[in-house]
Symmetry: C2
Subunit: 401 residues, 2 copies
């Protein structure tokens, strides 16, 4: 009999991956995945970046340093400054996607039994990483405007010094799954509370550049650096997966030197270094200005898809489905009215050849069983139209007119 | 005050990386790193593979499955069968280098305090991964022919059922650092012992294709699959880093289904998936037969470099340095005679502009302070000649004629 680490004795697969088997059903339209649209990849720009990168084949092919190629770190620091975050190349490290960034933080910061705070609902891969690290996951109070700093303050005051939370994981801009964006005042208040209670905030920001409406709100990482007390409160994670392509597997982490140093050592153990070849391609892509040129294309396309989905849902489902238009990102969060069970509706939806993710996958504690996450990113506008019709047909089987 | 996981409270950098700072000294010749030779990369073949892979840009750019792209898994299964290991695509998973393979196994199999057996000396990144996992590292008896199965049998019999080792890590072919290859009889005996004691063997095989002399010896993974009792005894790790290029960051793991399944879940947390782009390039490179054509080029060049190093050492240092010609791989292991301290000689060697790794970096327990690891891979033949002269000059400062 083989003995596994107890957390791997009877491992749970991802509930979202469970839905993958339906993707191969002919005619299925998926609103389930968080995949960016394949037909929006900047193939021409990436092909050119690939050619430019390979002009220095040894940089592509040899081991990179664990921190990342200097040129890519420069380019990512530049991109981060464009987002408003004061940042130099040596205040960030390159990671193999932002998933690895979170994983390195978990390894370095957490011991089994440590308390980690998350919003509810939140990103399931974060919950999985925390569970495998045997963290004690606790939720923080939030409302329709996101996390509530005043309630967090009270919650943090209730812990003993020995048992206070190690970190708070938050995705304040176009969150997965809710699409919510935390306002400026709450961001400032959140940082103040964190500084007062010596709480480290992990800000996950993969979607921030995909804004459809309104003006950009400064990231927590930017705001934190405006005050000496909050300076070291935030570790910022981001990724090229949603704005360039997931296949490059390039993310980055901006954080205090003591955290970055340890994450670099953890990365030596995790994978030695991120592919130098992918780093060189990403560097060329950013340095050529392709991302700046491509972002408006992406944003315009996703905005149209988002409007089609939310508009269609409102027109065809009306009161039966409650949802709001997000200001950016890839996701619409909603709920079936009258306590209709999202898994039950999904069964019917699959019969009608449309997929979504039941919201329960996103809860650490008490799930809202009527909640639903819909992604408008991958299907075409026409596909989104059909998807809405099919959802309407599925929910009619529950006796709705 | 920030609290880290205790293993990261005062983290140790890699002792090999400590030497990196000397690499920028003008004129320095390094026998220290384990980097393959940059001028032996198959740039033309890889450029062609890159072009072929990008004919299907979506496969490159979209998320891959955590197990790896089907086409690459096929190609790696084919390569593994060429090495003698019965293997289909679904009996392996793709990893981000074989370092990740080890990391996934450590996560899945080990709990803090678990006993892990290693040869002494062994690969330092393995020791680091085990230490960070809070494993109890114990060494197994080995001699000039490698690990001794009879002594391992006695050692294994000495553990209680509650405290028996979880796994044995071994690199039986052209090991790093010793260059040693375990003979066929010992391999068979080792598997028998492992099966009898229900011990899982992790066989790390990054160098096996780089054979200079003699006939190939079946891997432990191949031998294990010949008998029902040893069928599930071995997890096999390999990598394209030394035979294609480290920058592709492609490794693979062949193992029992229960282990692979859990490692796949651990990989979701670690980095979601390996870069689909790199996977597609690796697939094209293998499928085009480039590796088969390039391996003889590599082997010939490394054989000549190895002969130049060992021949030069014997001619110029004679009795002062004891070493043997390895049958393959990238490393020569040796020791200064008369108990001369390898770190003291290294200080003088650095003054003479030549670098090596003191052997103490490779020991879990009691280091041999005279031992030295030399890599012939990166420098040119001419550079190796100079390196030997400089080592001779360095050791003369200790009063040798």
């Amino acid at each position: 009999m083989r003995t596994f680490n107890p957390v791997f004795a009877a491992p749970q697969g991802s509930p979202i991956r469970e839905l993958f088997k339906y993707l191969s059903v002919p005619g299925m339209i998926s609103l389930a995945g968080g995949y960016p649209a394949s037909d929006l990849f900047d193939e021409a720009g990436l092909a050119e970046a690939m050619a430019i990168a390979f002009r220095n084949p040894v940089a592509c092919l040899q081991y990179s340093s664990s921190e990342g190629l200097p040129g890519l770190r420069d380019a990512l620091a530049h991109l981060s400054r464009q987002r408003g975050i004061p940042c130099e190349a040596d205040s960030l490290i390159v990671t193999s996607g932002s998933q690895q960034g979170l994983d390195l933080l978990v390894r370095v910061l957490l011991s089994p039994g440590d308390i980690v705070l998350v919003e509810e609902p939140t990103y399931p891969a974060t919950l999985q990483a925390l569970r495998l690290a045997q963290a004690r996951i606790e939720t923080v109070s939030s409302d329709q405007d996101g996390i509530d700093p005043a309630k967090l303050d009270i919650q943090l005051a209730s812990y003993t010094q020995q048992q206070r939370p190690t970190l708070l994981y938050v995705s304040p801009t176009f969150a997965n799954p809710t699409g919510l964006t935390l306002g400026l005042e709450r961001r400032r208040a959140l940082l103040e509370v964190a500084a007062r209670h010596d709480l480290l905030i992990v800000e996950d920001d993969p979607y921030g550049d995909l804004r459809f409406t309104g003006a950009a709100i400064p990231t927590l990482a930017e705001l934190a650096r405006m005050q000496p007390e909050t300076q070291d409160c935030v570790v910022y994670l981001s990724s090229l997966s949603k704005i360039v392509a997931p296949g490059v597997r390039i993310g980055w982490m901006i954080g205090p030197a003591d955290v970055l140093k340890r994450c670099t050592i953890a990365k030596q153990t995790a994978d030695l270094c991120t592919s130098g070849w992918m780093q060189a391609i990403a560097e060329a892509y950013l340095a050529q200005g392709f991302l700046e040129r491509h972002l408006p294309v992406l944003t315009k396309a996703y905005r149209a898809k988002c409007q089609a989905l939310v508009g269609g849902l409102q027109a065809q489902l009306g009161q039966r489905f409650e949802c709001q238009m997000p200001a950016g990102g890839l996701f619409v969060w909603g709920r079936w009215s009258d306590g209709l069970d999202a898994k039950a509706v999904l069964e019917k939806a699959i019969e009608h050849k449309v997929l979504y993710v039941p919201g329960s996958a996103f809860y650490a504690k008490a799930p809202d069983c009527s909640a639903v996450r819909l992604s408008f990113a991958a299907p075409s506008l026409e596909g989104i139209g059909h998807a809405v019709e099919r959802l309407a047909a599925a929910v009619r089987t529950f006796g709705y007119p």
